[in-house]
Every structure is written in C-alpha cells, then in structure tokens.
Symmetry: C2
Subunit: 225 residues, 2 copies
Amino acid sequence: MNKREFKDKVYSELAKVAKAMANPHRLEIIDLLAQGPCSVEQLANYTGMSVANASQHLQTLKNAKLVQISRSGNFINYSLTSEDVFFAWAGLRELGLEYNAEAQKLIRDFRKGYKSNMNAVDADELARMIEKDEIILLDVRPEVEYKRGHIHSAMSIPIEKLEAHIKKLPKRKMIVAYCRGPFCFFADEAVALLQKKGFNAVRMDKGFPEWVDKGYPVENAQTIN
Amino acid sequence: MNKREFKDKVYSELAKVAKAMANPHRLEIIDLLAQGPCSVEQLANYTGMSVANASQHLQTLKNAKLVQISRSGNFINYSLTSEDVFFAWAGLRELGLEYNAEAQKLIRDFRKGYKSNMNAVDADELARMIEKDEIILLDVRPEVEYKRGHIHSAMSIPIEKLEAHIKKLPKRKMIVAYCRGPFCFFADEAVALLQKKGFNAVRMDKGFPEWVDKGYPVENAQTIN
DNA sequence: CAACTATTCAATAAATAAGTTGAATAGCTT
DNA sequence: AAGCTATTCAACTTATTTATTGAATAGTTG
C-alpha cells in the first residue's frame, strides 16, 4: 500500500466520526446522553423524532462506536461510549459558537425571550463561589439526572417544580442554576422565574458535563460508564 | 420561537461544522493547513485531487468559517481560521483512533512496512529529553514549514534530503524525528533510514501542532495567524 | 404459548453531497 | 490591451443521507 492509498483510507475511516456528528439530531442525542443513559423512546420524545428515525440515528452513532447499548427489561438503554465523545462534540460546538454568526444570533435572540439578564458564571467562578459558601446552587434538570450525578452541594429542583418549591429558597443568598448544557435553557427559565420573584439569580454558562471535565467535585458521578 | 424550533435551528447551525469535517479530503486539507498557509494548487498536489475539486472542498470549509484566504500575486493562500479548527479535528481524530479498529489496523500495518521499531515519544517525554540535552531533534518536514515554526532546538533536514545529509549527524546521540503529524509518516521514513544506517533513532508520536498546543517552546511560531 | 411492548429493518422517495468537465473570472505580466 | 496563470463557477451525473411507512424481530409478561 503506498502512502497515497494509506492516507485516503485512514482519513476515510476517521471521517466516519465526523459524519456521525454531521447531523443536528445526532448532536442533540449526544447532548442528552451526556446526562446519562436513555431509551430510544425517551430520545424520540425529547427530540421530536419518530421512534424509527431516532433508532436509525442511533444505529449511525453505534456504527461509528460513539454509543453503546445495555438492556433493561424491554428497554434498550443507549449511552455514550465514553465522555470523549461528548468532549469531541464540545470542541466542535465551541468552534461553531466562535465563528457561526447565525448560531450566535439564535442564542442571543432566544435568551432575550427569557427577559433575564445575560449574566452567567463559568465553572471556575462557580467553584470559587461554592468554596466561599456564597450561593445556593440549583440543579434544574430532571431528578433522575441529578441522582446519577450532580455538582457537589447542589440541590435538586427540576424546572417544572420550581414555581411550586420556590418558597423553600432563602432570598439572602445569590442563587446559581445549572442544567444540561448551553442549549438546554432550563437554567435560563429558572433564572427568569427567580428574578421575577425577587431573587438574585444567575446561571452557569455550560452544564454538568463541563464541570466534570474540569475535575471539580461531584456527587454520585455515574454519568457515563 | 419555541424551544423545539430553537434547538432544531441551533443544532443545524452547529452541525455545519461537523459536516465540513465529514469528508476525508477536507480532513487532510486541515492537517496540511495546520503546518501553514497553502495555495489551491499545492493542496491539490499534496492530496491527489484535481484543482477544481480541491477548490470546491475549500469553498465548503470557507463557508463553515474554518478557513480563510489571503492573496499573494496570482495565488490565493488558504489558512485555518484559528488553531481551534485543528484542535477540534484533533479531538475527533483521537476519538476515532481510540475506537475505530480499522483505522488502528491501517496504521499498524502501514507502520510495519517501514520496518522500524514502533517506539515513539510523546511531547512531554520529548520536552524532558531536550532539557537534558540528550538528543538530536530532527524536523523532516519541507523547509518552508520548518521556517514558519518549529520545535525549539530542532534542526531541519527535509525527508528527501536525509540520505544525502545523514553524515552530518553524530552517532553518539539518540535522534528524534518529527513531522506534520500522525498521518504524515515522514518521521517513520526518517527513523527507518536512520536505524538502517546504524543510528539510534525514534519518532515523536504526534506533530508540531500538538507540541504548540502543549505550550512547549518553539522558534518562529507563525504557524497559524 | 399468545399477546404485548420496544426496537430494528427494508423499501422508497426526496434531498444533499461529491467529482468531473468545460467555461468563466480575477489578477498579474508584458 | 492581450495573453497568461490560478481559481472559481455551473451543469451534469453518481453516490450518499434522511425521513417515512409498514413489516419484522427481540424480549417480556401473564
């Protein structure tokens, strides 16, 4: 095999990873699986796809070795093969967010719809705030995701229960909300509601997977295994 | 715009980055541009594509904002928009190399063809060896790439000149060769030739861009600007 | 073992992507 | 201004991808 043939083949093999990620539905699936295993039906529900279509996209991800399966009764649970899958996508995401003006505009305009101020804290700043015991940290993801793993010292109030449980929160402290990641917007929703009720609240700019990647402390970290 | 519509749009925009990388020729182009700007003709020559085809792939990369152009007389020089483009691809590459058995086999088999032993040193180990002044460091890329930027203390002997200049090299010290990156194979060629002539030689496992990413010292670092 | 649920497969049509070919364009040189 | 070089564009053909629909399959339950 000459060098030209070798290069053509090896780049073709590696292009398969990029091809697997070259579809918006599959990217959303990766973001969802970064929070823990899901069944086909759940993924179809979350993403608005038919079950058959979701299954096809999952086959594509599986063929590229980006996801793997385990069975649980009638359900097949899909999970990311490793967190490197998420981080490879996160690298693409940050690149896209850096240069894609349309994506930047979409996010800015959608965020304006929440009428919350745009402040967000990053993981490093959040870690400092937790250490100084300055804040209340809220995980507004579904409770099943919280139980799988969450930021050390976070309390769980899923977004749909926030209005009902808002009285539990002290007004003295700043509240930081976080969710699945930058396109989830549960944290934005939470901050908008909290500010409306007079709380001093901001959101974390990314999500739980990024916190884990920084090596910051978590509880019950079984996110991806 | 509801949340579903927002997600569909934002993931579609970001999928454009992955789509731009979802082709073997475009991945090879990114690897080549990571060594510095190139014209369309040069890229066509290096990759075995027609000029028209190379130009089309470059348009795709440009539309995704992954490359940019500058003019030089009749030539249009393409360069990566930033080194984040290379690192996003490198993340995909490492993911693919981790799980794609066919790619692993291709590399292993091709490397065996060089009849060199398989030892390679990583950037950290290389940095230690340089510091201890234990080695001769050889940059076997084309000299124009060396001049744009190279590992601190490396000497340049392009691979096609190595046989002619091999007498310049002392046999007392170990020689480490590096090139553009893992799929370039100039370093493997160099090590095979050096070992055949009785030198103690190994290669660096990645390439110059990875060395830069680690923050290790370079000379003339104008690789990507 | 029949019925059920969850999931995958196969076929199809439509949309998108890739490479070639020849024409057109942009900028430079004489 | 003509001729040249490098590059891009447009049209066409072929290949690949995506979503839908209905059938098939795998595993569980009663």
